[in-house]
């Protein structure tokens, strides 16, 4: 009877670390390049997150105000509200009714210096109309939303900043596209760096691989130490990049942005999970891809 096969996980892990230390200067160089790539990706992500946050803070960016006819009745208001809520295909719309009395109160609150002027207006002479504030989440549909609102019977005026919203939206899309482009390029650089590093180990162990192939070692047995080497390299670089990103973000918040009232910076904790898992994911993935590419040729030779 043939003995069951037995493979020690320590062998694979040991070989992976041997590979990393065998060409230490190359490994160190790879870590530096990978960390640079990851920190650049993280910085881009952080930039986009902060731009989005600042743009969203411009309160009118995602709101449309519609004013009803001056003589609108309660029934008209209910009907119009139902019709607005019926525009489900245009995304998630949040509808808030503002009565003309509430409108006047809001104006007083916003302009306290002239509050006495508003107080002098009797209720029956209120010059305002009932209105609805519609908040939308999909800025790309703002023009369609505006058009549909204009078609509702009883709507006198539609106030929106659709042109600005569309411009902001295309600006955000542009930044996202640039980010995606950089992401692909930097990811490719990461994979290339790992291919080079693992190639060095493959080269220094070429005799071993050759003999392993001819004594019948399976492909996974030969490949696993190299793949682990790539994973360790990627994961370590990912972890290190996370801490650098954390420090960098704190530095920017405390020194650069601190004096700028107009700019609001997201705290790192708001997106630290995405950065951590993203970095580890990118590092490990590029490690797997890079090492798999490196080992394929000597295995097939």
């Amino acid at each position: 009877m043939r003995a069951r096969k037995s493979y020690s996980p320590f062998y694979f892990i040991g070989q992976a670390f041997n590979g990393l230390f065998r060409n230490f200067s190359v490994t160190l160089g790879a870590i530096v390049v990978l960390v640079c790539c990851l920190v650049l990706i993280g910085s881009f992500y952080s930039l986009i997150a902060n731009i989005t946050e600042n743009l969203d803070d411009l309160s009118l960016m995602n709101k449309i105000v519609i004013f009803l006819e001056y003589d609108a009745t309660n029934e008209d208001c209910d009907r119009i509200e139902k019709e607005i809520k019926g525009l489900r295909e245009l995304g998630n719309l949040k509808v808030t009714f503002v009565s003309k009395e509430q409108g006047l109160e809001d104006m007083k609150a916003e302009d306290p210096d002239n509050a006495y002027l508003y107080e002098s207006i009797p209720d029956e002479d209120n010059p305002l109309a009932d209105s609805f504030i519609i908040e939308y989440d999909d800025a790309s549909k703002v023009q369609r939303i505006e058009y549909n609102l204009r078609q509702i019977d009883g709507v006198r005026k539609v106030n929106s900043h659709s042109e600005i919203a569309v411009k902001v939206n295309s600006f955000k899309n542009g930044i996202t596209l640039v980010f995606f482009f950089f992401f692909v390029v930097l990811f490719a650089v990461g994979v290339f760096v790992i291919i080079n590093t693992v190639n060095m180990t493959v080269f220094s162990r070429r005799d071993e691989i050759y003999v392993m192939r001819f004594v019948g070692a399976s492909r996974w047995f030969i490949s696993l130490p190299f793949v682990l080497e790539g994973i360790i390299l990627g994961a370590f670089s990912g972890g290190l990049s996370y801490f650098i990103m954390k420090w960098l973000s704190g530095y920017v918040v405390n020194t650069v942005v601190a004096g700028l009232d107009m700019v609001k910076m997201l705290p790192f904790s708001e997106y630290s999970d995405i950065i951590l898992y993203g970095f580890l994911g990118i590092g490990i993935l590029s490690g797997i891809i890079g090492s798999t590419v490196s080992i394929r040729r000597p295995l097939d030779a």
């Binding site: 003995a3 096969k5 037995s6 005799d207 003999v211 392993m212 004594v215 019948g216 492909r219």
Partner: protein, 224 residues
């Protein structure tokens, strides 16, 4: 059994190296393969080791059809083979026993069996006293015996020796050949590729001459 049937093989842009090769080697046979440079010996070895695929014809070895062997079955096939290289291919940073144990370790042999198997095989190749030595401390003949031990330790059915005496002196060559004959007597197929006609004629075993990509049988006289 090893069966080449009308095998042809050419490399890119070149003429046929093997040109309708027909050859059958029975289990337990000892066969010398000889031929001039460029006759196709190396290509034949590469086909047997599955480093190359045949262009046409069929090649069956130990129940495996190498013309359509999927890559995931390659390790299983290669465990049926023991390969001895001309340049030994020993690891200089490993001792004799580590070099031999390496072949067991990489195919997943449990640790508890490794020491005994290594000890047994080193005794077979008469190197039991050198188990702690490093390759650079050994003569060429001894290094080739370590390589032979490594090829034998997984109990393969077929031993393929590519110019096994190419890098060692004549006395040691005899010693290596004697070991290979002994292995053959254990009902293992042994194929020795060599250009040393003197050795071939000394052992009087079946000899196949490769000429123009085809096999021709030669039965040399045995020197007494």
């Amino acid at each position: 059994m090893i069966e080449f049937k009308n095998v042809t093989k050419a490399y890119k842009g070149g003429k046929n190296v093997l040109n309708g090769l027909n050859l059958t080697i029975e289990d337990g046979e000892f066969v010398f393969i000889v031929g001039d440079t460029g006759a196709g010996k190396t290509t034949m070895m590469k086909l047997l080791l599955c480093e190359e695929k045949v262009d046409s014809g069929s090649l069956k070895v130990a129940g495996f059809d190498l013309t359509r062997l999927p890559s995931f079955k390659l390790p299983k096939y290669r465990r049926k083979l023991g390969v001895v290289f001309q340049d030994f291919r020993l690891f200089p940073n490993m001792t004799v026993e580590q070099n031999v144990a390496f072949a067991l370790r990489v195919v997943g042999t449990p640790k508890k069996y490794i020491a005994n198997k290594v000890k047994y095989i080193l005794k077979t190749v008469q190197l039991e006293n050198k188990h702690k030595s490093y390759p650079y401390e050994l003569s060429g003949g001894e290094q080739q015996r370590v390589a032979l031990a490594r090829a034998l330790v997984n109990s393969p059915d077929i031993i393929i020796a590519d110019e096994p005496t190419g890098n060692i002196d004549p006395d040691m060559s005899r010693n290596i050949m004697d070991l290979l004959v002994m292995v053959s007597n254990l009902n293992k197929t042994v194929i020795v590729v060599t250009h040393e006609r003197e050795l071939v004629s000394h052992y009087g075993k079946r000899t196949v001459i490769l000429e123009n990509g085809k096999a021709r049988e030669l039965y040399p006289e045995v020197k007494k």
